[in-house]
Symmetry: C2
Subunit: 174 residues, 2 copies
């Protein structure tokens, strides 16, 4: 499975706090290795870190990165850059090719994205050409990238895990 980091751009503290937290948790739960946040927001770093501590794994979250430098560093070190945007080519037409690239930086914007990103990205990928959500776009992208196998991931170092059940809420402290 390709190694994947997410770069979240366009984050505004306060307004985007919940959406960006959802982006980070989605990235972790669906198999990415970490998230770079192109804004300073220690609250998000802490809340993602708290989840990693309890639920396991080694997902990283780094804030205050410069998006242009993050992308150009990634490309110089021979990584591939994917930008998720409704304006791009549709996911099904690109995913087989993208799956052969490793590692991947997946750039996820908020409402407005600097035009330069479209040129810097190796792939501009649309999860449908319809307006919806960077969270759902990222989720469907990762699920297709990993062919659904990420849904079965377990975390041996977790301090808590859910015992799947038909009804009700069961957890186990480990």
């Amino acid at each position: 499975m390709p190694r994947v980091a997410v770069l979240r751009i366009g984050h505004r503290p306060e307004r985007d706090m919940r959406v960006t937290t959802h982006v980070g948790l989605t990235a972790r739960a669906l198999g990415a290795d970490g998230m770079y946040l192109a804004a300073r927001d220690p609250g998000i770093v802490k809340s993602i870190g708290d989840v990693v501590n309890r639920w396991g794994g080694s997902f990283f979250c780094v804030d205050d990165v410069k998006w242009r430098q993050c992308i150009t560093d990634w490309k110089r070190e021979n990584g591939t850059v994917v930008h998720l945007t409704m304006y791009g080519l549709n996911l099904p037409s690109l995913i087989d090719e993208i799956r052969t690239r490793d590692p991947l930086l997946v750039v996820v914007g908020a409402e407005k994205v600097p035009g330069e990103i479209y040129g810097l990205a190796d792939y501009n990928v649309a999860v449908t050409g319809q307006p919806h959500s960077e969270i759902s776009g990222l989720a469907v992208f990762l699920d297709h990238l990993f062919s659904g196998r990420e849904l079965e991931t377990t975390y041996p170092d977790a301090r808590i895990r859910i015992v799947p059940s038909k009804r009700g809420k069961k957890t186990e402290e480990l």
Copy 2:
């Protein structure tokens, strides 16, 4: 393809405005027929309606429904109720069976969900047993339900559409 409506519960106006809008737009873009919102929030109804007007299709959004009544009405009319929750059985183990049911009501909570829902639902489905986002949970659920075919949906009555492109942003007014 089964007909699907989403029931969004636990919405608090202001705080959940953006997340619930993302839930609605995700539901529309990934093939659901509409969303019931168990709270009064005309701003969300309007913003989803504006997207439908421009981008096409017949997605409905109704606010101020009572969640218990919405679920029991749905069940009485022979529909199946799916509740997305990290505590449920994992998606891959249930999706083939759920795909044979029609129509489906997909219940999507916010942070806390009334315990009663676990008993009312025909299926409690986890999109991984990890904490992430109701938006990504819904997205992956719908994408698996429709086997990715929903990514190719077109909207003949749209007033605007995107011309998919490798770089840049192209739209067409229709």
